[in-house]
């Protein structure tokens, strides 16, 4: 830990809302008292996943008692479009429907009961056609949302032709519902002069503001979007809060009354997008000693019915198909398939997990075929000195921390001894076998769309020395506000209890990027720091005067005091300073801004430097697998993760543990089952199983890499939100290791992801054949 007496920075902080979470006082959008006259709105959709709208009859719905308005595409004053990047997504379908339940009509009513009755009374006549609900069907039908995107280096054909070991095949990963505990919700309140105030659970208030303005045909200045906090986001409220917010806004504008749109759990799961499933075909070559010589892979993602963020997600999958490994000759292509399912979207990792799952699976398969030690094969392929430091997108890997992490983790997890114990157990046990694996993570930090790497802050000082902190990031549980509060208190030298983090609002910080891509603390932290530095520079002359004409450069702001570095006994209280500054007519609010330097990427050539830096980590997982039922237990997990010099080590540990278990869910128990009609059979926690209490391993060791300051990131820290999710790939590698123990040596395990009990039992059966 970095020593910093009197400052909360780098200290074991509690979550800034923790007490209010525990007492039930923390307010979420649905908890706000209903404003007078509030209505609720719900969408009516068609009963087929694909079809032309022949007619829409809303006459009966209008007559339902309590129904106040029934709106269709024709009632939209502006653009009937909520596509965030490519405008290919209607708010209310006008001609065609593209997934089951796609909103066509919006019913606005006095109560949820009246609203549901109104929805039931809407008649939507569809001329249905056969829906496309799998990637295979989309490929066969030539149904695409994007052109092919390519990254390549070297001569992959020649490399594969001369490889000692070469094999081809497919790798599949499944989708994942975000299952934030708080479902999508917006409360829209009309204000004077046709302005609107929205309370919205979103990671991207500026985009909600922009989309609402487009839909309502007004300037963005007419729309304020405020986010108190979210009950979880995980990427699911980056773009996908906007349609529901736009519905609330439209209904509020049309009725002149406050309107809430809230999805219940089933609606949320049926109507919102999820993590993209991927199907990848590959051709890979290794040398005899396990060195990767070439990879040719075609990645296809299931984008659902519209683009949403699918192209950027596919790009990030390509960017991470190397994980931490040097690929001398490589050709990666990616394409987004169009299916008649809800539009898949951002989810923690944003394609990175799917890319990494590919290369980790290929290394596991190579080791299963050859019997080489997976730890040594992985280590052998790490990025190294030039020319082995170049990614498939031509960015150089500098400061590679994986070799150090591997060494430290192998020792701390007692890997070698446990490897022998696992072998001994497997030699005796017939009905169950154990598996052990170590896998690394290297994750690129930055929005790969360069201009998004910017952030703003507004810090407001009051004459009594207290502070209101506004920044562009949103709080979804990740502890961003806690970190920003620590940076602000550190920079101004005030006590944390005198800083209040305000709700995120588009009227405080404009034109923000989404709180996404793990970038929240990196970007907003710099902006907060920048704003505080401005305020400090304004206060310094006053402080210097109060301290008898001291040199401003020697002033230290810390712990509610300002003092001279050499003479801490000469100090002035911060509140006395601000009071004096007010009398001296000093401006006491300041904005801060930050943009990440040197981000360049040319999508056409597939070359550039899309990432400011890389985050690293590794996990050792041990499992035991039953050959009778396919059930397994995660026996022990050891993680060593690189967060630079942690801004708040307690918060970062929580991010690592939570991301890891979320990754375990994606890779094992969470299974989305759509039927042939495009209906999600697993649309509630009754059938969709995220990890529960007992799924967390009892032995769960998490450590932060020490002495790991990151150059050119706020206070030497590193991003943490997404990278640890991919540590869960070690569970898959360990499960595959356990499956191999059921069969003869040299046989590749047949196992797709998610590794459900059923998938595992059949993998064991295949291994035994």
């Amino acid at each position: 830990m970095v020593e910093n007496p009197g400052s909360p920075l780098h200290q074991p902080l509690l979550h800034e809302s923790a007490q209010r979470h525990a007492s039930g006082e923390a307010k979420y959008v649905d908890d706000f008292p209903a404003p007078a006259g509030m209505l609720v709105a719900q969408a009516a959709g068609g009963s087929h996943a694909r079809g032309r709208i022949r007619s829409v009859d809303i006459s009966k719905a209008k007559l339902v008692p309590g129904v106040v308005a029934v709106l269709t595409a024709r009632d939209i004053p502006g653009q009937n479009n909520v596509g965030p990047v490519i405008h290919d997504e209607e708010l209310l379908a006008s001609q065609q429907v593209h997934f089951l339940g796609q909103p066509v009509v919006l019913v606005v009513a006095e109560s949820l009961e009246a609203c549901r009755a109104g929805v039931a009374a809407v008649k939507i006549d569809l001329e249905a056609s056969a829906p496309i609900v799998t990637i295979e069907q989309a490929i066969a039908a030539g149904s695409w949302l994007s052109d092919e995107h390519r990254m390549q280096r070297g001569d992959v054909g020649a490399a594969l032709a001369t490889a000692d070991v070469r094999f081809q095949g497919e790798v599949r990963t499944g989708g994942q519902d975000h299952f934030y505990l708080e479902t999508q919700v917006t409360l829209a309140i009309p204000e004077e002069n046709r302005a609107l105030k929205l309370y919205c659970s979103t990671q991207h208030p500026s985009e909600v503001q922009a989309i609402v303005a487009h839909v309502l045909h007004c300037g963005r200045h007419q729309v304020v979007v405020e986010v108190p906090r979210m009950g979880g986001g995980f990427g699911g409220k980056e773009t996908q809060a906007a349609p529901w917010a736009a519905m609330a806004a439209l209904a509020a504008l049309k009725t002149g009354r406050p309107v809430k749109v809230w999805l219940n759990r089933d609606q949320d799961m049926l109507l919102t997008g999820k993590r993209h499933p991927f199907l990848t075909k590959f051709d890979v070559g290794f040398s005899k000693d396990g060195t990767l010589v070439g990879l040719d892979a075609q990645l296809v993602s299931d984008g659902g019915f519209s683009n949403d963020l699918s192209r950027a997600i596919l790009d990030r999958a390509l960017f991470h198909s190397d994980n931490g490994y040097f690929l001398p000759h490589v050709r990666l292509t990616g394409r987004v398939a169009k299916t008649n399912l809800p539009s898949n979207t951002a989810f923690r990792g944003f394609g990175g997990p799917q890319g990494m799952a590919l290369i980790e699976d290929l290394i596991s398969r190579f080791c299963e075929r050859t019997g080489l030690d997976p730890v040594e094969v992985r280590r052998k392929n790490f990025y190294g000195a030039a020319p082995r430091n170049l990614t498939p997108y031509w960015q150089e890997v500098k400061d590679n921390r994986l070799p150090r992490i591997f060494d430290e983790l192998l020792a701390s997890s007692d890997y070698t001894k446990r490897r022998a114990e696992v072998a001994a157990f497997n030699a005796k046990s017939t009905s169950s076998k154990r598996g052990l694996a170590l896998t690394p993570v290297k994750f690129g930090i930055s929005f790969t769309t360069g201009f998004l790497n910017q952030a703003g802050a507004l810090v407001v000082l009051y004459a009594d020395g207290t502070v209101q902190l506004n920044h562009g990031g949103t709080e979804m549980g990740q502890g961003l506000h806690t970190k920003m509060l620590a940076i602000c208190a550190h920079e101004l030298g005030v006590l944390p209890e005198n800083v209040r983090v305000m709700n995120t609002s588009t009227e405080k910080v404009p034109n923000t990027s989404a709180t996404a891509a793990s970038s929240g603390a990196d970007l907003n932290g710099q902006a907060v720091k920048n704003a505080c530095e401005t305020l400090r520079s304004r206060l310094a002359p006053i402080a210097a005067r109060l301290l008898g004409g001291a040199d401003e450069r020697e002033l230290v702001f810390r712990g509610g005091h300002v003092f001279l570095g050499e003479h801490p006994e000469q100090w002035v209280a911060f509140d006395a300073l601000t009071s004096e500054a007010h009398l001296a007519q000093v401006s006491m609010s300041a904005t801060g801004f930050y943009r990440t330097p040197d981000i360049t990427f040319d999508r056409n050539s597939g070359r550039g430097k899309p990432f400011h830096y890389f985050a690293y980590g590794a996990a050792v997982c041990e499992v035991e697998l039953s050959a009778l039922t396919g059930e397994h237990r995660l026996r022990r997990v050891d993680i060593l993760h690189d967060v630079g010099n942690s801004l708040a080590p307690t918060i970062d540990r929580g991010q690592i543990e939570g991301a890891f278990i979320q990754g375990v869910g994606w890779l094992t128990s969470e299974e989305l089952r759509f039927d042939a009609q495009g209906f999600l059979r697993t649309h509630s926690p009754d059938t969709y199983k995220i990890p529960a209490f007992g799924d967390a391993p009892r032995e769960f060791h998490v450590a932060l890499l020490q002495n790991a300051a990151q150059y050119d990131v706020v206070h030497g820290s590193k991003a943490v939100g997404e990278p640890p999710l991919m540590l869960a790939l070690a569970v898959v590698a360990a499960l595959r290791d356990a499956v191999t123990a059921f069969g003869p040596k040299g046989r590749e395990v047949k196992l797709d992801m998610p590794c459900t009990a059923e998938a595992l039992l059949f993998a064991v059966e295949a291994q035994r054949q």
Partner: protein, 464 residues
């Protein structure tokens, strides 16, 4: 109206959250004062989304808002805060309420019991480790915090509003009168299944008769020959009772549901919904249980396996109810285990479940074989072919393998989102093979704390 909607919409007590409205996430958990085994009132966490207001007649309810007194936080709140047990905070009030109950439970003496206490609360942020730390700190500490549960009063109630009728008779005579007047009324006890019709399908159920006021249904008694378990006995009470008396049943009850559901769900409710994937039917059928049915005219008994007459259909006639099940004491020579396979160990519905009971004579020849399966057909069914392959034969791996093969003709399971037909068939056979191994040394083995699968190896049984 559910308690959850009442708290949030009418009382503006918004600390209690709706996460799923089906009892699968725990965000709506509150504490209700119920009578404990010793007759004293105790706090029990329940899902407020699955409790209709009339079911609270005479009961003391605490929501998360009550726990902070002035500026003093309850130890459950302090431990969650200090451990960083909350991130987004949305599941937190529910977790605090489950932990609140845990602070007064003196029986959380094994790690798996703490998991069981909290498995009804999903958290998507933390990965549970800090919550487990917080729970370990406060469980069983019985803080002297002034939260004394009030003794429940009579539940007797007749309530009519908005065209809906809810009656809780206090006596059987009152029940018969109500049924004579309203033969179309539906029975409800804990409501954990029935309430889903309201919260998920928005059904309006015009007439309900709650059996919670009939204290006789909550009795458990035993004779030399059998245990009599009242239909109103909660799954939580059954869990406590079966731990020592019916170890095979206990294994099923342990993963039956989350704590909140176990508190409200009842033996009778689980049997009378007659779901093909209900967990008690295969367990009780394998133990040779009998259903005790009562109408105004008196009682009749049917073997439990004959109680289920079709998909979600029972042998109950109009104006009849299940009052108890009688479970013969398992012979000490018998091997008996119940198994449950689901996608997730905790808080999940069975893909395949099974109850096995096999007795042998002094020569090791099978005298009784009851192999009951759930999830393999439209109702819980005994595997007639497999049983026939065992009875009269030596209890050997070879004969068990033959019986496992016979299962293929006993069942033609369906494929659905919980598992394919091929998986179900394979697991059904493997459970029987595994049962043979697991009971080699201990005939009615308990489930270990960190078991890998529902069926344990002989080695696991040996080491606990």
């Amino acid at each position: 109206m559910t308690l959850l909607r009442y708290l949030r919409d009418r009382k503006q007590l918004t600390g209690t959250k709706e996460g799923c409205a089906e009892g699968d996430c725990g965000a709506c958990s509150v504490a209700i004062a119920e009578l404990g085994a010793d007759g004293q009132p105790v706090w029990r966490s329940v899902n407020s989304c699955l409790v209709m207001l009339p079911m609270l007649q005479g009961k003391h309810v605490l929501t998360v808002e009550a726990l902070k007194q002035g500026e003093a936080y309850h130890p459950a709140q302090v431990s969650m805060t200090k451990a960083l047990g909350s991130q987004c905070g949305y599941c937190t009030p529910g977790i605090v309420m489950s932990m609140f109950e845990a602070t007064y439970r003196k029986d959380l003496d094994a790690p798996w019991k703490l998991d069981d206490q909290l498995c009804g609360n999903l958290c998507r942020c933390t990965g549970y480790r800090p919550i487990r730390d917080a729970a370990e700190e406060v469980a069983g500490t019985c803080p002297n915090d002034g939260f004394t549960p009030a003794k429940p009063e009579s539940m007797e109630l007749a309530y009519e509003a908005h065209g809906q009728r809810f009656v809780t008779p206090g006596t059987f005579e009152a029940l018969w009168q109500e049924l004579d007047a309203h033969p179309d009324a539906r029975f409800v006890v804990g409501g954990t299944d029935l309430c889903l019709e309201v919260t998920k399908k928005f059904a309006v159920i015009p007439k309900l008769v709650s059996l919670e006021g009939l204290t006789e249904l909550k009795q458990v008694s035993e004779t030399d020959a059998f245990f009599r378990i009242g239909s109103g006995v909660s799954i939580a009470e059954l869990e406590t009772f079966s731990a020592t008396r019916l170890p095979s049943l206990h294994r099923m009850v342990r993963y039956f549901a989350a704590r909140q559901i176990k508190h409200r769900g009842t033996v009778g409710g689980n049997l009378c919904t007659a779901s093909p994937i209900g967990d008690l039917p295969p367990a009780l059928i394998s133990l040779g249980a009998t259903a005790v049915i009562r109408g105004r005219g008196g009682e009749r008994r049917v073997l439990l396996e004959q109680f289920f007459v079709g998909y979600r259909k029972t042998a109950l006639a109009t104006k009849e109810l299940l009052v108890a099940v009688e479970v013969p004491r398992p012979a000490s020579s018998a091997r008996a285990v119940c198994y449950k396979v689901s996608k997730r160990r905790e808080l999940d519905i069975s893909t395949v479940s099974a109850g096995f009971y096999v007795d042998t004579d002094g020569e090791g020849v099978v005298t009784v074989a009851r192999l009951a399966y759930g999830g393999m057909a439209a109702t819980t069914l005994r595997a007639a072919g497999a049983e026939a392959a065992l009875v009269g034969k030596a209890w050997s791996a070879q004969n068990v393998a033959l019986a496992a093969k016979a299962l293929a003709t006993d069942f033609t399971p369906l494929s659905d989102h919980r598992g394919s037909a091929a998986y179900r068939s394979l697991v059904a056979a493997n459970l029987l093979r595994g049962f043979f191994d697991e009971t080699l040394e201990v005939r009615q083995p308990p489930l270990g704390s960190q078991h890998v699968a529902t069926v344990q190896s002989a080695e696991e049984v040996r080491h606990g």
